[in-house]
Amino acid sequence: MRGSEILERMADSTSEDVAVIGNTDFAAADLHNNTINTMTEEGVLKKMEISVSEAEKRTGKNAVNMQEIYTVYLIETRPVDAITEGQSTAPDSLWRRYSEFELLRNYLLVTFPYIVVPPLPEKRAEFVWHKLSADNMDPDFVERRRIGLENFLLRVASHSVLSKDKIFYLFLTQDDGWKDVVYDTGFQAKADSRLKALNATFRVKNPDKRYTELKHYSDELQSVISQLLRVRAKVADRLYGVYKVHGNYGRVFSEWSAIEREMGDGLQSAGHHMDAYAASVDDILEEEEHYADQLKEYLYYSEALRAVCRKHELIQYELEMAAQDLVSKKQQREELATGTVRTFSLKGMTSKLFGQETPEQREAKLKVLEEQIVEGEELVKTSNAECDEYVRNAWIDIDRFKEQKNQDLKEALISYAVMQISMCKKGIQVWTNAKECFSKM
């Protein structure tokens, strides 16, 4: 299963050892806290096996008090050491719906803006070819979503930074009241407004060149994967048509064989092979859907990448604003001190029109400005530090992401080739059998 493959690979890529939870002399609450701390210190995946194993439909009242049907997913967790010690304990489990996953992700996005946060599986079915239902209640869609959600959890759990987050751990383990805990963190207040971010994008003067290039890359990636998914969906539709037409041969051969003496048997058996051929396309296209899902993950990853770039632009912009503000304040101080007006200011104009200010007023102003300049220098210093730290941290995760992306996509391409090979082999077999039947006519 794909999930466990990722598990293996990611477990290999980090170097931490599995640690055992300490001795049992604590009270229950302390034990719980201790567990949380240990988990979040060491990183969740080292300690737990995670899976999203089932999906179920529920009915309930929504925000506007209307009946709705929604799907919940069963998250099962089991401590790793329980397995390694040969005990087969029943896993802990709880049900979560898609909107809770969204909440978790939004929290992570705001809390770790310098991380390329793994995406969720798509909210609505996109790039469908005609046979596939675009309905969120469709069992195939639900199944693929289940796999996607598991994939999401495993990616977060194996991330060196994200896996240590307490909210994530509670998402996996705390049945009741998790939502309240998340909201209590106040993460929503920390979120940058879209307007602010957009403004920064347009006005920033000297963003880090690497991030500009990265943003272009993420745009290109998004565009090209969208195109690919669109074309793939069209091809899938056409392939379906080709295979299904052959199903008609089966029917007509069978009817025709009724009036033929010598050819009858050959026709009948050939007809069966034609039916098998037509039916085989369903499995083929289902496998291809997995390939599409792999592409979709990176389509949505490109958005996460862009978010990290935008955050950099915002921080850089704020730094530039602070620096600019400092420069202008220093200039004002100079003007005030020397009495020359180099820059236009309303105050300057009014004072010229209505009379000069008194030396006491000027002193007071200078003093205020000095304080502001000190504050401003402080701000520039911290903004600079923040910017540097962000650039540094984000680039670490970006490098990690690039490695992961190259590996995942290469594997996806290879699995695509493997799928094509399997399809060809099936085709060869069917037509070899059919040819045999035809030869006997």
Partner: protein, 418 residues
């Protein structure tokens, strides 16, 4: 007239027996139809085909002939053969008009398809034990253009041909009374065969259409992968490799589509037309029998009239009007009836032979046709299977070479599970 006809029947029988003895046809007439050329006159534009005949038969003056023929000439030949042998099964000509429009007539693909079909048409006639000896066929193969034109003008005049048509229509309106069971079985068979062939023809054409659409879609994929490789660094090589594989698969798909269009589709289409030929042949046989039956009925009527003559008094009335002696009138009438009955009996004898001949030739030719049909259909579908097998084999090789180029063996193991 009767004597000549009887000889004709015996000659035909002899030929048929000879055919039955020699199951393998010894091919001694080889014909090729090629080199289509446009001809432009002041009135029209048409295409002619070169027809080359090589033969060792003594009936032919020379061993090699080259002539040019147009579609109309083939039509004429078919008509003459049907006239001479109404119950032999003559494989169909390609269709006269194409649905899409008249300009299609000069389209290269259309001409090539037609040329192949015409080639098949004349060769089947050459392979036929009876048809290949037909005089008109010989003229078709050997005469120069003007000779053929003048030969076409000969033959039964317009009036006699009209008479023939009238009789045929009358017979078909009348319908046959006592059709032998085996021919009814043939009619039922042809009905179903025609339906199924029609469906298969449509399915084959639809398959080609769907495959072409799939190809169009696939052609868009390669370029996207290539485009993508432009944005990447590590992934450039596999992305370009995939694009290459897809493009190669597209080429293979084109070959497959061409293969299906050229081999399988025309054969199925030909047999759709063939079904119509069979229906026409069975109708003609029915008409021959109907004609015979109508004469038999006429004879029976005359006999009944003669019987009535002895008992009725009407003739006495009749004769009274004309001032004749009743006895004399009766005798005259009786004599006339006897004469008519004699003529009818002769005609019935002739028609009876005609019916038997028609039935026999049809029966034998039916078996021959069925054998050919089985062979053709079998080879058409075996070809289809081969075309598709080759398609998948080539695609398999392309994708396997991709895997090798990526230097992975871990996934080939997974492959053996499926």
């Amino acid at each position: 007239m009767t004597a000549v006809f009887v000889v004709f029947v015996y000659v035909q029988d002899a030929l048929m027996n000879q055919y039955k003895l020699e199951e393998q046809d010894i091919k001694d007439v080889f014909i090729t139809v090629d080199c289509p050329e446009n001809h432009v006159t002041s009135i029209e534009t048409f295409v002619t085909y070169r027809v080359i005949t090589k033969t060792t038969r003594s009936e032919f003056d020379s061993s090699e002939y080259e002539v040019r023929r147009r579609y109309q000439d083939f039509l004429w030949l078919k008509g003459k053969l049907e006239e001479a042998h109404p119950t032999l099964i003559i494989n169909p000509l390609p269709e006269k008009f194409v649905m899409k429009g008249m300009m299609e007539r000069f389209n290269d693909d259309f001409i090539e398809t037609r040329r192949k079909a015409l080639h098949k048409f004349v060769n089947r006639i050459a392979d036929h034990p009876i048809l290949s000896f037909n005089e008109d066929f010989k003229v078709f193969l050997t005469a120069q253009a003007w000779e053929l034109a003048s030969h076409k003008k000969q033959g039964p005049g317009l009036l006699s041909r009209m008479g023939e048509t009238v009789r045929t229509v009358a017979a078909s309106v009348r319908g046959v009374q006592n059709r032998p069971e085996e021919f009814t079985a043939m009619i039922d068979y042809v009905e179903t065969f025609s339906q199924k062939m029609g469906m298969l023809d449509k399915i084959a054409q639809r398959t080609v259409k769907e495959q072409k659409e799939y190809l169009e879609g696939m052609k868009e994929c390669g370029p996207v992968y290539t485009l993508w490789s432009g944005s990447e660094d590590q992934l450039v090589e596999p992305l370009k490799a995939i694009a290459g594989c897809i493009d190669n698969c597209c080429k293979v798909t084109e070959e497959q589509v061409a293969g299906l269009s050229e081999n399988q589709v025309p054969i199925l289409h030909e047999y759709v037309l063939c079904a119509e030929t069979l229906k026409a042949v069975l109708r003609r046989r029915d008409n021959i029998q109907a004609e015979y039956e109508s004469k038999v009925d006429a004879l029976a009527n005359k006999k009944a009239d003669k019987e009535n003559l002895k008992h009725t008094d009407l003739s006495f009335v009749f004769g009274g009007f004309l001032g004749k002696n009743t006895e004399e009138a009766k005798q005259q009438k009786e004599q006339r009836l006897d004469c008519e009955m004699k003529e009818l009996k002769e005609e019935i004898g002739r028609l009876e032979d005609k019916v038997e001949c028609a039935n026999n030739t049809l029966k034998v030719d039916w078996e021959r046709w069925k054998r050919n049909m089985q062979g053709d259909v079998k080879s058409a579908f075996v070809d289809m299977a081969d075309t598709n097998m080759n398609y998948y084999k080539k695609c398999l090789a392309i994708w396997e070479s991709f895997l090798t180029s990526q230097k992975t063996d871990v996934h080939l193991e997974k492959d053996t599970d499926s």
